[in-house]
């Protein structure tokens, strides 16, 4: 089997079965033609692009689906929200200490600490660049920066897993880094062909609003600080406040309100669940409540979607 055939098979395998049956041969022929004289790199890029559309179809995140349109609507807010996650100097945020240590250490030995320091500094700078790119409508750059944010978040979680013996502390660290990982992935999942479209003039305003909302959401959670784990109804409120509009408004086809909820969800979901898990005394205590909320939301969304003639109606011209 040649590299080209293997790449094609892998890419086609990413498509849902019904699409593969209907279009598989056609896609394979076009792929064969476009890569006939191509080198390995060009073939790999072609295969990646082919596989990416297959994954979009499989996850229903194309430009014509409700999920894809929702992510594209949320993208400027999400880019701003990721900027709001970062610590602000002078607000006694313990994360500023970590950044100061990383900045002082720079590239000095021990080298084993360097990736961690670079990841800390990267997550301080890259979200700002991402917000600027989104505000300017430079979505190709914004997608690369969103990917960088997600990778840096994943790297810090991996480094923490390698370093930390205490599983509670590891879970807490991963929870506090989850906004970067989830936010970056959600931005990457937005269909690129819709990102240029909506509300060109209000884009900087949306990024600014996202940053302000993100900052407020993270401050409400004490800057993801272990000393301020949330008690009482607070974590539930911070979980449901973005989750309810994200699901229920999306079911009604109200994308703007749903996008606002979706943009804040990565910032509050993980830490709220972590705090609730603490209060419930473990996964088993939390599970029945999580299942009940998921079932109630699904039922409500279906009910609301049923009243809509076509919530996933055809998207913008593009």
């Amino acid at each position: 089997m040649t590299v080209r055939t293997a790449a094609l098979r892998t890419a086609i395998a990413a498509y849902p079965a019904h699409y593969r049956r209907d279009r598989g041969a056609e896609l394979a022929d076009v792929f064969a033609d476009t890569t006939a004289d191509a080198g390995r790199l060009a073939t790999a890029r072609e295969a990646l692009d082919l596989a990416a559309y297959g994954l979009r179809l499989r996850t229903r995140l194309t430009a014509t689906t409700l999920g894809g349109r929702l992510l594209a609507t949320a993208a400027p807010l999400l880019a701003g929200a990721l900027l709001g996650v970062g610590p602000v100097p002078g607000l006694a945020d313990p994360r500023t200490h970590t950044i100061r240590v990383a900045a002082r250490a720079g590239l000095t030995p021990p080298w084993t600490d360097t990736p961690g320091h670079l990841a800390v500094l990267g997550l301080t700078v890259v979200p700002a660049l991402l917000a600027a790119a989104a505000a300017l409508g430079a979505w190709r750059a914004a997608r690369v920066l969103a990917c960088t944010v997600a990778l840096l978040g994943a790297l810090r979680i991996a480094l923490a897993a390698a370093d930390t013996q205490d599983s509670w502390l590891l879970l807490y660290t991963a929870t506090a880094l989850m906004p970067y990982l989830a936010g970056g992935v959600l931005l990457l999942a937005a269909p690129p062909d819709l990102l240029d479209e909506p509300r060109r003039h209000s884009r900087p305003l949306l990024v600014g609003l996202g940053a302000a909302a993100g900052f407020a959401a993270v401050r409400a959670q004490g800057g993801y600080d272990t000393r301020y784990l949330m008690d009482g109804w607070w974590p539930l409120l911070l979980l449901l406040a973005p989750l309810l509009p994200a699901v229920l408004c999306a079911a009604r086809g109200r994308l703007d309100a749903a996008a606002a909820g979706l943009a804040l969800l990565p910032l509050t979901a993980a830490f709220s669940l972590f705090s609730l898990w603490q209060q419930a005394g473990g996964v088993l205590g939390l599970l029945p409540w999580a299942v009940a909320v998921a079932l109630a939301l699904t039922a409500a969304a279906r009910l609301l979607a049923g009243r809509q003639p076509s919530p996933a109606a055809v998207g913008p011209l593009g």
Partner: protein
């Protein structure tokens, strides 16, 4: 529907179908030619755009056939797609005409004469 400017990839795709129905690879080559080699549409991106335009009823499947043992599906503009493309072309023509007028207007000629 055309209050917003159309994305370039959509414009190129509709333009490539304006004179005749075409299959996938022919569309990629045609887009490359129309854009002067500036836009290279990859297979996944092309089918994403085709699916979107099919759903928006701007294009349709014109023919499905087997040529030399290979599956060939040709796509064509619908009447709605033709209207949308014509409107966009007119909008671009008006902008280009205005740009030409301002570039070659009396003020410019006067400035050039003074220079």
């Amino acid at each position: 529907m055309t209050e917003r400017a159309m994305q370039e990839s959509t414009l190129l795709l509709l333009t490539a179908l304006a004179d005749a129905p075409r299959h996938g690879y022919a569309l990629i080559k045609e887009i490359d030619a129309i854009s002067g080699g500036r836009v290279t549409m990859r297979t996944g991106t092309l089918y994403g755009a085709l699916d979107r335009l099919l759903q928006q009823n701007l294009i349709e499947v014109a023919a499905e056939e087997i040529v030399d043992g290979r599956a060939r599906r040709s796509y064509a503009l619908t009447d709605a797609g033709r209207d949308v493309l014509a409107t966009e072309a007119e909008r671009l023509r008006a902008v280009a005409a205005e740009a030409q007028r301002r570039l070659g207007g009396p003020a410019v000629h006067a400035r050039r004469a003074l220079a």
